[in-house]
């Protein structure tokens, strides 16, 4: 495998609703910042790949318009995934393995504020037997939370502890959106939205964008004093039907972790994409992070900033940034897609 590294990362602060800027306007400074930090000009970038959803924008091919944030002239090599930007990064990493280019730009954007995100996410379910019943995203997540609690290994108190830690970490993250401290006992006394999920178990509605520059080999060393090398990356998916898999565990995350080489050795930091509190507990088990001395989601994670289609790429960026800054030597990043952790991507990042 060719050595490929994250050499720069930038993100827009996550906000409840950016009513003054469209997606291009949110993206432009983010793309410029990521390229600027890498010192690689847009004309040198060998491949550009983005992640977003037309359903958020409410119009087909909305990603084409987002290219204005890059400036697609002269003609450039570009691709898009209708997925979280973490999967765009995977495509760019695979493209760099071809060996004929040395750098790639990855970006993601999403304005969840423009619609009812909980109902919009219903549309990713089975169109024949499930969507006509309109189970919203919180309801579907609650089915998984109940399955996990029934397993007996985790409690609602554990879930509240995840939320409280995420809020504490959010206080020192200027890009986080939900930064009010959480009193666990008081939070557990609150009524459920959809039992067993309370408000603190659910992610905020967020608008945001992020960009990462990847570079290979020597080009990475020129672009960054301490590149975050991608030592392993893999993604796996489970059946679409919620009733055909075990919701209390994450087989696909465990499989991706194994193939990415994430099940051995210690991590200084793990950035896990868990929009709901119970999902972090399920993922910690699947990724084997339960007993390891790893800083969990020091950014606060998706519970404090959840721009849909972006939050997974931010996990890779936050993990890589800690290596680039010298705060970590080895980091694990994870992204998820689909209902109830249907699809999972695991990325192992290391300093030299």
């Amino acid at each position: 495998m060719r050595d490929v590294a994250v050499v720069s990362f930038a993100q827009a602060p996550s906000v409840r609703a950016d009513q003054l800027r469209n997606e291009v306007e949110i993206l432009m400074p983010v793309v410029a910042e990521a390229l600027g930090r890498s010192g690689i000009s847009k004309h040198e970038i060998g491949f550009t790949c983005s992640g977003s959803s037309d359903y958020l924008a409410g119009q087909p091919f909305s990603f084409v318009m987002a290219l204005d944030a890059v400036g697609a002239w002269p003609p450039m090599a570009e691709s898009h995934v209708e997925m979280d930007g973490a999967w765009a990064l995977y495509e760019a990493w695979a493209r760099l393995q071809h060996g004929d280019i040395d750098s790639a730009l990855v970006y993601a954007f999403g304005k969840s504020s423009m619609g009812d995100i909980a109902e919009l996410l219903t549309l990713q379910l089975d169109p024949y037997s499930v969507v006509p019943l309109w189970p919203d995203a919180v309801s579907v997540a609650a089915l998984q939370a109940r399955a996990m609690l029934d397993g007996g290994h985790h409690s609602e108190r554990d879930m509240a502890a995840v939320a409280a830690r995420s809020r504490r970490d959010a206080a020192s993250n200027p890009n986080a959106q939900v930064r009010t401290p959480l009193d666990e006992a008081a939070a557990l006394a609150e009524p459920c939205i959809v039992s067993p999920l309370r408000e603190h178990d659910c992610p905020p509605v967020s608008d945001g964008a992020a960009a990462i520059v990847l570079a290979a080999g020597e080009r990475a060393r020129q672009a960054c004093a301490r590149p975050a090398w991608i030592r392993g990356i893999d993604h796996r998916i489970e059946p679409a039907s919620l009733g055909a898999r075990d919701l209390a565990t994450s087989q696909s995350a465990a499989l991706a972790a194994r193939h990415a080489g994430a099940l051995g050795g210690a991590f200084d930091v793990a950035e896990i994409h868990a929009p709901f509190t119970h999902q972090e507990l399920i993922l910690r088990d699947a990724l084997g992070l339960g007993d390891r001395a790893t800083a969990m989601n020091p950014s606060g994670g998706a519970l404090v900033a959840n721009p849909v289609m972006v939050a997974g790429l931010i996990r890779i960026g936050e993990a890589a940034q800690r290596i680039i800054d010298g705060r970590a030597r080895r980091a694990l990043a994870h992204a998820t897609s689909g209902p109830c952790l249907q699809q999972n991507l695991v990325c192992v990042l290391e300093a030299d």
Binding site: L133, W134, S139, R146, V194, G243
Partner: protein, 156 residues
């Protein structure tokens, strides 16, 4: 030709209707179609995979192996709740407009569970492992709404 038509400033603009829609219908196919056809007759059918797993609702391909599925199998209209979630404030699109449970229900004879609503009246009546049965709609049309919801089997 009238004078008004001759003068472009007086001309009536041409108009044409434009409706944003997908101009096609889609068949649900031989497998899911069979499932909905049975629902219309107030029966539930699934499929058996090569490995012997009963999938309800049926799918055209085995999610484990990707192989085409085999024979159709009749399953019961009652089964067990494998997980559930209580909705305190239903949304306008939800199938019931009073507090209800979402549940994954594994029907007797099936190896997978289907998602639907349970009209249990109160959250305290819900538990994982409880038995529920289908409440059929008064009229059936060959879609998922032929099942109005599930209800606890011990309900009158």
């Amino acid at each position: 030709m009238t004078t008004a038509d001759a003068d472009p400033r007086q001309a009536t603009p041409l108009t044409a209707p434009h409706m944003l829609e997908y101009e096609y219908t889609r068949s649900v196919g031989p497998v899911i179609g069979r499932f909905f056809g049975a629902l219309q007759e107030r029966r539930v059918v699934g499929v058996r995979t090569a490995g012997g797993r009963g999938l309800v609702p049926p799918q055209e391909y085995d999610p484990e192996s990707g192989e085409p599925v085999g024979d159709f199998v009749d399953v019961a209209s009652a089964g067990v709740v494998t997980t559930w979630a209580w909705v305190h404030a239903p949304r306008p699109k939800h199938p019931l407009q009073r507090p209800f449970a979402w549940a994954l229900v594994q029907l007797d004879g099936a190896d997978t569970a289907m998602l639907h609503a349970v009209d249990a009246g109160d959250e305290s009546r819900m538990s994982t492992g409880m038995r529920v049965r289908i409440r059929w709609s008064a009229e059936t049309h060959g879609d998922i709404h032929d099942i109005a919801c599930f209800e606890p089997e011990d309900a009158r």
